[in-house]
């Protein structure tokens, strides 16, 4: 069954493009920290540890090559955030872009929000493809003419010029977060957005930068009593009064802003009961939710914890409706993953356009897709070895038992430095963007 966002059983994924340096020596600034398609899928934005944003634009489909959808080429790139030092608190503020979120397009320009640990910025990306020519008081090179030499008047006209894409910061939303911002989410009302740090969530109006409303505050009066932090937050895709936030203890709270100004009392608490017999030192750490995403329909939400992806029906708080194991074989490696800090890696997850398939990253540059309808899953690899144009990606298998079959990779030979934390799915088509540490891979569905 072909068609956009169709079931995984028929979809074959092909390599399309890879962006970034080939050499293994990765500069810290080049580490990709966020990937996001805009609402039409025409633009793809990436942010990195060096505070830079690169936006790619999809080329229109060419009639010569109906087998593939357009390629993504660089559209604009700019320095979004710069490193800062807070001398008052002796705090170094990284320029790393934690999240990028696009605003729905309202006019010719595109807008996105980008955030580092402390400051959110609204960027306007606009095109300029004409310029006025034929001024009366200025020469073409900009020099001013002596007014006495002007004998006739003419009306300047717009002439086409080479396309210029300009990015300019339109708003800077600063000084509202004591702790480190982990999420931003634009409301469906297109007027407000939320920003969440470890202990607080603030509501902003996109037009107003000197004021924001605190809507969630979980800071205890005595910091010794701190037991959990906020790990992610998101607005409901169509109910502008509803948002959710996840915690380091594996719970999700859904809040209704109509109930009160401060949403400390949740409307719903989503938590899967835990078997106390199975509790270990690692239980709480691996239950920490690293990402929460509503489905496009708004009926479901997905959470990612260290070993699994869970789908929740927002009408049922007692347990998830689906649970998918991302890399269960790591459960017997938790000791070394704790020692090398990998157990704290924050993986993100995403839905395909029609909510039938979900995707998340893993180690060894593997990423996983789970088809909810067909109950199938696949492991694929982002690697330059499979980077012949339109070559079909072969599913990978990890051998967990003693006997390793041919083509299988043993758990002990997985490279834990090669982690895929950020992935994105085109909102309409089967095109995915997968970020390795410093490279961006674009894969497309094989079209016949």
């Amino acid at each position: 069954m072909a068609g956009a966002g169709g079931g995984n059983s028929d979809v074959q994924w092909c390599f399309s493009q890879v962006k970034g340096a080939i050499d293994d020596d990765v500069a810290e600034a080049d580490i990709i920290s966020t990937v996001e398609f805009n609402h039409s899928g025409e633009l793809l934005a990436t942010g990195d540890k060096g505070g830079r944003v690169v936006i790619f634009q999809q080329e229109p489909e060419s009639k010569n090559q109906p087998q593939c959808r357009g390629e993504y080429n660089v559209y604009s790139t700019f320095q979004s955030h710069e490193p800062e030092f807070d001398y008052l608190k002796s705090l170094e503020i990284e320029e790393k872009i934690n999240k990028i979120r696009w605003l729905p397009q309202k006019n010719a320009a595109q807008f996105l929000l980008s955030t580092n640990d402390k400051t959110i910025k609204l960027w306007k990306i606009s095109e300029r493809d004409k310029r006025p020519e034929g001024y009366n008081l200025k020469e073409e090179d900009g020099r001013y003419r002596d007014p006495n030499t002007v004998t006739t008047l003419r009306v300047p006209v717009f002439r086409p010029m080479d396309l210029m894409v300009e990015a300019s910061p339109r708003r800077v939303f600063a000084n509202a977060h004591t702790y480190h911002i982990n999420s931003i989410s634009v409301n469906s009302d297109c007027e407000t957005y939320l920003s969440a740090d470890d202990l607080r969530i603030n509501l902003w109006n996109l037009e107003i930068t000197d004021r924001s409303f605190n809507i969630v505050d979980i800071k205890p009066t005595n910091m010794e009593e701190l037991t959990e932090v906020i790990t992610a937050a998101e607005f409901h895709p169509n109910q502008c009064n509803t948002f959710v936030y996840s915690s380091s203890k594996g719970t999700i709270r859904m809040c209704d802003m109509r109930a009160s100004a401060l949403c400390d009392k949740y409307a719903k608490l989503f938590e899967e009961p835990e078997d106390p017999n199975n509790r270990s030192f690692f239980s709480e750490i691996i239950s920490s939710i690293s990402d929460v995403k509503f489905s496009h329909s708004g009926r479901y939400m997905m959470t990612r914890d260290y070993l699994s992806v869970k789908i929740w029906d927002i009408n049922m708080e007692t347990r998830p409706v689906e649970t998918y194991q991302v890399h269960e074989y790591l459960r017997s490696k938790l000791c070394s993953l704790y020692e090398n800090d990998c157990i704290f890696d924050k993986f993100e997850c995403c839905w395909n356009g029609n909510d039938s398939v979900v995707m998340t990253g893993s180690y060894n540059n593997f990423f996983r897709m789970f088809d909810r309808g067909y109950r199938q899953d696949v492991t694929l690899e982002a690697s330059r070895e499979n980077s012949k144009p339109r070559s079909v990606l072969k599913p990978r298998k990890i051998s967990t038992g003693g006997k390793r079959k041919k083509d299988e990779i043993s758990v002990d030979s997985l490279d834990f430095n090669k982690k895929i934390l950020h992935t994105a799915w085109h909102p309409l088509d089967n095109i995915i963007a997968v970020a390795t540490i410093n490279n961006l891979y674009i894969f497309q569905e094989k079209l016949n």
Binding site: K19, G20, A21, A29, D30, I32, T46, D48, G50, G51, R52, V54, V74, T77, Q79, E82, P83, E84, F85, K89, S90, L91, E92, I93, E94, E95, D117, Y179, H180, D198, L199, M223, E224, E225, L226, T227, E228, V229, S248, K249, N277, N278, S280, F281, F282, S283, E284, I285, S288, R331, S332, K333, L334, C335, Y338, E339, N438, L440
Partner: protein, 112 residues
């Protein structure tokens, strides 16, 4: 009475043994505790979270630095350690310890 208690103890011990065999997580926990016997009992608790909240703290205090300079008039000021270590404890940070943060004027390699 004592017979019953003995039975309970054996059942508990049995459960523990079964746990080690059945649960890979518990086996990993045992491994960790063996390597780090001083590891606190409450792993997800305050310590870990507070470390997370304090990310970025650099502890450069110009007062401390100048006091240390004054105290060591005749000696060399402690030089910055060669490897990048966390500046904590008795070591007084010097301006050299703080990495000079400059914006990347180099363009992203993704745009190359």
């Amino acid at each position: 009475m004592s017979g019953e208690m003995e039975e309970t103890r054996t059942a508990e011990e049995q459960q523990e043994m079964e746990d080690k065999v059945i649960s890979p997580e518990k086996a990993e926990e045992a491994k960790l505790k063996a390597r780090y016997p001083n590891l606190g009992a409450k792993p997800g608790g305050s310590d870990l979270l507070r470390k997370r909240l304090q990310k970025g703290q650099k502890y450069f205090d110009s007062g401390d630095y100048n006091m240390a300079k004054a105290k060591m008039k005749n000696k060399q000021l402690p030089s910055a350690p060669t490897e990048k270590t966390e500046i904590t404890g008795g070591h007084i940070p010097t301006p050299q310890d703080l990495p000079q943060r400059k914006t990347s004027i180099v363009a992203s390699k993704l745009a190359g």
